[in-house]
Symmetry: C2
Subunit: 219 residues, 2 copies
DNA sequence: CTCAATTTGTTCTCGCGTTCACAAACTCCT
DNA sequence: AGGAGTTTGTGAACGCGAGAACAAATTGAG
């Protein structure tokens, strides 16, 4: 299943490591902005908020990009991580659902600066079609196929109410979208081969509430 | 460290389980809305998008709330989970940073319906003070102490740009806030005893991009 | 050139979480 | 009442990730 014919990047990077690579990349960018050209695993780990042993192990999955006795070249490592994640290229993204959250996402500058380009905002509400939000056209949900095909979109973002999420996901999958970021508070089912990541705002708060309650209960 | 003097809820629930309890709660609410009064672990697991064995083990940490041969009483289980998480009570929350994301969070109905009440929106921008967003007063960041004390706030949400996040966190901790939900794309450092959860929108997309790239590379 | 100091890459061990598999408990039908 | 059929709760095995610890590689001083 994980056999790769491509000669490079054939390593199988653990999921936990993949989730931390963007954090390292951000830390490296911050260091570069400060004019720092070289850093040790200890320093980088501090910036990223992780253990240095973990950092080194994570980086070792990518290859040997450090120099013993010296550390890592910030620019070089930055490029290597970006390439591994795939953010050296430009990823077109569609956002469905132009409520408060869709608005916020469309305006979020962090997407663009990290290689993601919002090519369209889709909504079922016809009265909003033709509007321009954050420099992006608001279009009809029915235009999804056309937009996906024209721009070669592989990543879709769901920012609709819970009730619409599964329908939207089905349509996205039907168009050939293979990665979905779901902000709707509902579980969506997709075929094998499609990746879904879920961000649920109220769940995060509930987890905090659980711990908060326990703190209070230690009498 | 985990010794509890309180007689009930003395069990130590694994972190991974805690993170899933809100999902189960949501699934149970959906079932209840459909008029379903009883469900098996298999059915509930399907709604929640998990394995039924995992679901049963998770629930077993709370106690034996099911009936063998029958399943779980939806209302009863719902109450037990809600009580365990702590969402039977009302949690006052402050949001700092009234940008696009702060706006979206303030308007998010999912908070209120789950026991979280936004008591104030704070922002450094003086021109916005006195405004009312989503029925909540926009106040000066300097009012943090007063608001936290008045309402007994234990949970704070950071929705500022990255540069301000650490300062805001420090102030929050200084006021006695012990749980922080951080949407700013930066690592924040807090003292022992303070819980931080981080939601980073662009990191989620980068993780998707990594997998997307790998799919494309399987030639 | 040699040796001390530094820092990476990797091996090893431990603990947590997931999953399987099954005994225990309950219902319902005859 | 008894037995077949369900479904929970949990013991045990397994796999992954975290962290400690160390060997290998590099630098720089004398």
């Amino acid at each position: 299943m994980t056999a790769r014919s491509s000669s490079e990047s054939a390593r199988d990077i653990p999921e936990a490591t993949v989730a931390r690579l963007p954090v390292y990349l951000r830390a490296l960018n911050a260091l570069a902005d400060d004019g720092i050209r070289t850093c040790s695993s200890e320093e980088l780990a501090l910036s990223a908020g992780v253990n240095s042993a973990k950092l080194r192990k994570d980086l070792s999955y990518l290859g040997s990009y450090g120099t013993r006795g010296v550390g890592y070249d910030v620019d070089y490592l930055r490029y290597q991580i970006a390439r591994e994640i795939g953010v050296t290229q430009d990823w077109p993204v569609v956002i469905v659902g132009i409520g408060n959250l869709g608005h916020a996402l469309a305006n979020y500058s962090g997407f663009r600066s990290r290689g993601f380009r919002v090519v369209a905002l889709l909504d079922a509400d016809e009265t909003r079609h033709g509007e321009v939000v954050a420099g992006v056209d608001v279009r009809a949900f029915g235009d999804l196929e056309e937009i996906v095909e024209t721009h070669g979109v592989a990543i879709g973002v769901i920012a609709t109410p819970a009730g619409a999420a599964q329908d939207v996901a089905d349509r996205m999958v039907g168009c050939g979208i293979t990665s979905i970021l779901n902000f709707a508070p509902s579980v969506i089912v997709v075929p094998e081969g499609v990746d879904v990541r879920k961000v649920d705002l109220s769940i995060e708060l509930q987890i905090l509430a659980y711990h908060e309650q326990r703190k209070a209960n230690v009498t």
